[in-house]
């Protein structure tokens, strides 16, 4: 098994709906992406408040992101992830902390809320894990972790996802 992590901390969000992480599988026959867990938290605001979060797919007009190279969870794995750092979310890429959403339609898979002082952790059971298939067209579906509403405090956010290439 080849598992990877996209995670960041101490980040400042744009004051708008924000795609926190966006991972877009490469074209077939590259591997599918199976998501093992998602988490979001922050360390700036001690005031209890609920915050919406979504897991979405998107096939076009991807967000403008900060490029991010997935880290290997199995440190002895000789191979890097097929997803490479990119700021525009194309096939085979990973990015974080969107500065512009660019208007692409988001299809919601999971919608939930969490309290900002406690953070949110979603660890789906094996039957509930989302698998995004390797893309077969030029406008493939990528998966994003998304805040549909800007939080009250924008600083010191941390979030991430672990995924497996299958």
């Amino acid at each position: 098994m080849r598992e990877f992590c996209v995670a960041i901390g101490g980040s400042t969000l744009a004051n708008q709906a924000v795609t926190l992480a966006f991972l877009n599988p490469a074209s077939a026959p590259n591997p599918n992406i199976e998501f093992l867990r998602f988490w979001i938290g922050q360390s700036a605001n001690p005031t209890s408040a609920q915050q919406r979060m979504q897991v979405v797919t998107q096939v076009s007009s991807y967000p403008t992101l900060a490029g991010f190279t997935p880290a290997k969870l199995k440190r002895s794995d000789p191979n890097a992830s097929v997803l490479t750092s990119n700021t525009s979310g194309p096939m085979g890429s990973a990015g974080i902390n969107a500065t512009a959403e660019n208007g692409g339609t988001k299809s919601i898979i999971v919608e939930d809320t969490f309290n900002v002082v406690n953070g949110g952790l979603w660890v789906p059971g094996p039957d509930e894990r989302i698998i995004v298939p390797a893309n077969v067209s030029a406008t493939g579906a990528g998966l994003g972790l998304h805040l549909p509403v800007a939080p009250a405090t924008l600083t010191n956010w941390a979030w991430g996802t672990n995924f497996r290439e299958v």
Binding site: F114, N118, W122
Partner: protein, 100 residues
């Protein structure tokens, strides 16, 4: 004229500023919460590796301030100011040094 006690400070603002601590509300559970901050300021969460679990559930490493405590649990709960974990052997409570 008001007299101030000389045996000790009377007001918080006279004291050296302390670290800001947030204590998680009672009955918060990880998951779905990401962390629990207890009264000592210790942060509890679940790690990535799974291990022996209660029947029908999945258990992950229990982390205290990012360090392993040697337990696998399917959830961490904060009840009556006490950290509890649900393990394959049932509930265990943190006594300040280990889970019993």
């Amino acid at each position: 004229m008001r007299e101030f006690a000389t045996s000790g400070p009377a007001f918080d603002w006279m004291l050296k500023a302390k670290e800001q601590l947030y204590e998680t509300e009672a009955y918060v559970s990880v998951p779905p919460a990401l962390i629990i901050t207890d009264a000592r300021g210790d942060v509890w969460t679940l790690g990535f590796q799974y291990g022996p679990a209660p029947r029908g559930e999945f258990a992950f490493q229990v982390l205290r301030n990012g360090h392993l405590v040697g337990e696998f649990a399917s959830r961490i709960e904060y009840r009556r100011g006490q950290i509890k974990i649900f393990t394959e052997r049932g509930y265990k409570c943190w006594n300040g040094r280990s889970f019993t």
